[in-house]
């Protein structure tokens, strides 16, 4: 169990930090507790990482929403993945987004999921995921231009 914890902690940390920001360690700890308390319910070991991702992202959004630190903004268009524009301080831009927008952006940019898969992780409809992503991209664009 200790080895599994060593294996999963960096992954969960990568998922939670862009969403929960300063509350990243709290979110990661809460997510890992949920993972370890429910391990018995995981029927297919090969699905471990997808299952952990779903728990971690939802937990990070929940923790971030609970925090009073969130400062959502409204913004225009995200650069294409891998573009040089993303070399700006990502954390600074993430600070201006809501947890839900950070989550969709992270799933797209860090995890490389398409909108349908990201919608599944977040338990929202594909339409909602698409609209959140679009607003997040807009937010990113506006942040650079401000």
């Amino acid at each position: 169990m200790s080895r599994l914890l060593d294996e999963l902690t960096p992954y969960v940390g990568r998922l939670c930090a862009p969403i929960a920001l300063a509350d990243g360690p709290d979110a990661a700890q809460e997510a890992l507790i949920a993972v370890f308390q429910n391990l018995a319910s995981l029927r297919e070991p090969a699905a471990l990482y997808g299952w952990v991702r779903r728990i971690a992202v939802r937990e990070a959004v929940r923790v971030a929403q609970r925090s009073a630190r969130q400062q959502p903004a409204e913004l225009a268009e995200l650069p294409v993945p891998g573009s040089a524009e993303l070399a700006v301080d990502v954390r600074d831009v993430l600070n201006r987004l809501s947890p839900e927008h950070r989550a969709i952006l992270m799933l797209r940019e860090v995890e490389g999921l398409d909108e349908r898969a990201a919608a599944e992780v977040l338990a929202v409809s594909a339409g909602t995921a698409k609209s959140r992503l679009s607003r997040a991209k807009a937010a990113f664009r506006k942040a650079w231009e401000s």
């Binding site: 902690t9 940390g13 700890q29 507790i33 993430l94 860090v110």
Partner: protein, 148 residues
């Protein structure tokens, strides 16, 4: 590009909290100790000395050099433990119990955590006696006194 994104990690105490949550009937406690983490961990990591001083039902704890240890109790009972020991982290388990310590710097002092659980369902009724929260806090208080 992804290395521009923020990442986070858990310190050893936070990891121990996660591990404890996964142990059925397990207990967990933590305490701030006004001593540097190096001193606190040096004491804990000297397992042959610290474990008999800290754990009431263990009289001797002998490391065998192969990642295991033999613990001897007050009535000549013995158990063979797997021991995972690294900086700030120690987990020990035999057939019946699992327990561990974790330490992280906390300002100039140390945040020290301990957890313990009984692995055999039939023995879980004794958990409050040997591994309950009061017992675990008592263990941490003994570390505080030993490293003052």
């Amino acid at each position: 590009m992804t290395n521009q994104w923020p990442v986070t990690d858990l310190d050893a105490v936070q990891r121990m909290r996660v591990l404890a949550s996964a142990l059925p009937g397990g207990g967990f406690a933590r305490l701030h100790i006004d001593a540097p983490v190096e001193r606190v961990w040096a004491y804990i990591a000297d397992l042959e000395r610290s474990i008999p001083e800290l754990i009431g039902f263990i009289r001797r704890f002998e490391l065998l050099g192969d990642g295991t240890a033999v613990a001897r109790g007050p009535v000549r009972n013995r158990g063979r433990f797997d021991v995972e020991l690294r900086d700030g982290w120690c987990v020990m388990q035999d057939r019946f119990v699992v327990g561990g310590f974790a330490a992280a710097a906390d300002g100039d002092g140390t945040l020290l955590a301990v957890c313990g659980a009984v692995r055999t369902p039939g023995l879980r009724r004794i958990v409050p006696l040997v591994l309950g929260r009061r017992t675990l806090v008592g263990v941490l208080e003994r570390v505080r006194r030993a490293t003052a």
